[in-house]
């Protein structure tokens, strides 16, 4: 294979496993000739990117919780870029989309409305916490984050933002400025001004050696206070309620942040692009905590088929009728709305939010049990089907087991389980919410097999 050049530039692993590693090359060399030809063709025409092209494999189909490569090999996908809450190629979503295509309304210009878009907006208003009543759509989550922040700027008359190191909220310049990863800002020169960052709570790796949750929370809250004393004129605080790795903050932490936002007149914006629509065992992750001023949705909102994202905000913020904070071509795309609505109906009818809570608890228990046998599993955290395993070389020093994590990833891949590694050593487990107990057992046994086989 010639598509991968091992680069000498350090590539950040904070967002995901990278495509330029030695192990990736070894994985690729084990693939069949036809697949390798397509990977070559892909690499010849697409702009190379650290987390996409050159790619790992070529897909031929997806179904339920699984993806299939060209050879027909099946993988339980614990990543899916987060679009697969209702399962991949959900038959009810596909049927609804096809019906919508047949009803001759695949697109409406923005000056017109259509019934699928209205229905989806009504449904979102119904399933989100009560004060959230106003909807605005766009094609991608990065753009939805920008709409939320723009709304906050317009309403507050301020322009500064507060957000978290290591977070990812999208890759437009504003979204990347709010995000806290070097990977998306390095080399870009000046970003959007006024983006302040603090640390997200981390109970496992807190730098003070504290063990009491509330004491740890106080330290993180103090970071917010330090900035807000000097910059009280912040427009919005943007965060995922549960971080990507995930760290599951205490309810106390978010209550304190909510108070802080109220005190300073700051918009609290929750990015639930990944966590919304059932992943954490509730419709929205904010239901575990506090109600934000703006809830941002994306990914699975398009039913795993179409690009669709949006914001849901409070009635009192419907005050930008003289502006265009969205102004995206597909603002009221009836096809995307149909897909989203069908996915939500499917999640509801098949009680998949309850399933996410139950299967999530089952997997967490399984991994915690595994942790007893494999000290390389430093920490297991999660909520619903949003789970992470922090792999360490030493349970005392908690040193990140980066090479080990990558070996585990490829070993699991070979045994039909695909997942993503973030921050270099955290295996993230986010299957479709359709997952069955049998499939959970498969996940557990494939991981167990990898932990048995691979030695530190």
């Amino acid at each position: 294979m010639s598509v991968i050049q091992i680069t000498n530039d350090p590539i950040s692993r904070e967002q995901g496993d990278i495509n330029a590693s030695e192990l990736r090359n070894r994985y690729l060399s084990g693939l069949d000739a036809q697949t390798r030809d397509w990977i070559e063709a892909d690499a010849a025409v697409f702009l190379h990117q650290a987390l996409s092209t050159p790619v790992m494999n070529v897909l031929s189909k997806t179904e339920g919780a699984c993806i299939y490569d060209l050879r027909g090999n099946e993988y339980l996908d614990l990543h899916g870029n987060g679009v697969h809450n209702a399962g991949f190629s959900n038959p009810e979503v596909l049927t609804a989309v096809i019906q919508q295509l047949q009803s001759q309304l695949a697109f409406t210009p923005r000056r017109y409305t259509n019934i699928p878009a209205i229905r989806l907006a009504q449904k979102l208003v119904a399933i989100t916490p009560e004060p959230l009543t106003r909807v605005l759509f766009c094609p991608g989550g990065s753009e939805a984050i920008e709409m939320a922040v723009t709304l906050a700027k317009q309403v507050t008359g301020r322009w500064k933002t507060l957000s978290y190191w290591d977070s990812y909220h999208g890759n437009g310049f504003q979204a990347a400025s709010i995000g806290g990863e070097e990977h998306f800002t390095g080399g870009n020169g000046p970003m959007v001004p006024g983006a302040f960052h603090v640390e997200f709570p981390n109970y496992y790796r807190n730098p003070w050696g504290l063990t009491d949750t509330e004491a740890i929370d106080e330290q993180y809250i103090r970071q917010l206070d330090v900035i807000l004393q000097r910059h009280p004129d912040v427009a919005a605080l943007v965060a995922e309620p549960i971080s990507a790795t995930p760290v599951v903050p205490s309810r106390y932490y978010w209550e304190r942040v909510r108070e802080c936002c109220d005190r300073h007149g700051i918009f609290l914006i929750f990015d639930e692009i990944i966590e919304g629509l059932g992943r954490t065992g509730r419709w929205f992750a904010c239901e575990h905590y506090v109600i934000p001023d703006v809830l941002v949705l994306g990914k699975s909102l398009g039913g795993g088929v179409l690009p669709l994202a949006g914001i849901v905000t409070k009635e009192q913020f419907n005050v930008v009728s003289h502006r265009s904070i969205g102004h995206y071509t597909h603002e009221k795309n009836p096809l995307s709305a149909t897909a989203g609505l069908a996915a939500i109906h499917y999640l509801e009818a098949h009680r998949l939010i309850e399933n996410a809570a139950a299967m999530g608890a089952y997997l967490l228990e399984g991994f915690r049990d595994m942790q007893q046998r494999f000290p390389v599993i430093g920490h297991v955290a999660g909520k619903g089907l949003h789970i992470g395993l922090d792999l360490v070389t030493d349970s005392a020093t908690k040193e990140r087991a980066i090479f080990y994590a990558e070996q585990v990833m490829y070993a699991c891949m070979e045994n039909g389980v695909a997942f993503k590694v973030i921050e270099g050593n955290v295996a993230t487990i986010r299957p479709a919410l359709t997952i069955t107990k049998t499939q959970c057992d498969t996940i557990l046994s494939v991981f167990e097999h990898a932990f048995n086989k691979i030695k530190l």
Partner: protein, 464 residues
Amino acid sequence: MLNFWSDSMGDNKNTAKHLVEEGDLNVSGQRKLWHDALTDDATRDALQRDADHFLHQALSTPCLDVLASSDGAQLTSLAGKTYIDFHGNNVHQLGYNNSFVIDRVKQQLDILAFCPRRFTNLPAIELAERLAALTEHRLNRVLFAPGGTSAIGMALKLARIHTGKFKTLAMYDSFHGASMDSISLGGEYVFQQGLGPLMAGSVHVPPVDSYRGMWFNPNDQDGDMAYADYLEYVLEKEGDIGVLVAETVRSTTVHVPSQAYWRRIRELCDQHGVLLVFDEIPIGMGRTGKSFAYQHYGIVPDMLVLGKGLGAGIMPMAAMLCKDELNIAAQVSLGHFTHEKSPLGAAAALAGLDYMDAHGVLPHVDRMGQLMANRLEAMKAAYEAIGDVRGVGLLWGVELVKDRETKTPDPVLAERVLYHCLGRGLSFKVSGGNVLSLYPPLVISEQKLHEALDILEDAFRSNS
């Protein structure tokens, strides 16, 4: 009486003045009359629900009407009224409900609808290869995104990484998207207002305006060269501009620069180490009679951004194409968008390209464009209010004035003409307050085009 009308515009006169630059507003008196005249209960009910649940926006909610279906050049409302659509947010290049495209999308749904970004799939590869081929392989590296705004952001990042320079140069009045980066880059105050500091180093120059431009020389065939001279001056004074982003042909108010202008600018970019990026989101994919508008000018940009019509009227889909030598960002993620390699979006786009080839869409655009030019010129000869007619292919702007000598814009007439046409079944957008923006689907039949232009002519007749 629909009750979503508010006086929110009252204290925002300044905003309104700038807002009309992008399009006709939903808060005007004419719009209110339009709504009051809607009698169908189901329509009024749906509009009310729409206005109750969506965040209000000057150019969308509250909406004009509720659509039930669409076909070819036509939209059909819930009440059964039809509109020939000369707007379509520019995704309607191949007509609405194009059955050739829809069949292919339906087939793809049964095969592979989505592909996580770490994997690839055959339709995405084929589309990338096909687009590269349409540029004669001059722009042979591709990156996809779900929307044009995001694709512009990718181009800006790539330019910064490649040149090591962060300053951007773009045109006043241009629109490149609605995120902070594309708003900073673009030149419309209405989108920038109230957002606090924008992106550093966003420099702007005046766009070519062949009708009322301060530097335009109407006595010269290449009367827009003073704009290129000023651009050169700015490149020299700023010293470290990394990228020039421009619409090859301005879409909304329709300004078509001369060949000499773009050729000179291509030279200037090369001399100053500036990357030239053409935003063809609204006008690529055949609108001007060629696959890409830059192909009229005998130059090649360093990057080309596509969107809207790329998804063939069905899928949100955008792309950034660039020269192979710009494939230098493998260590980062310029895009990183969930639907980076959407097999469904790619299937729609490929079907669109196949349809264009099979049905000779580009030659059809040439013929229909000529027809449109002739009829609009004839209207200009007949109606004093038409100050200027400009266009290429099926992209036309008709500028309405109170007086041909003073060229005073006539926004009131423009809005009257708009609502007259809407009432009789022709939909288009008004840009810059007084320019009728006319973009029929590229597949419109001669008969339908005449029908639409008859409605337009009737509007001039009734209002003159």
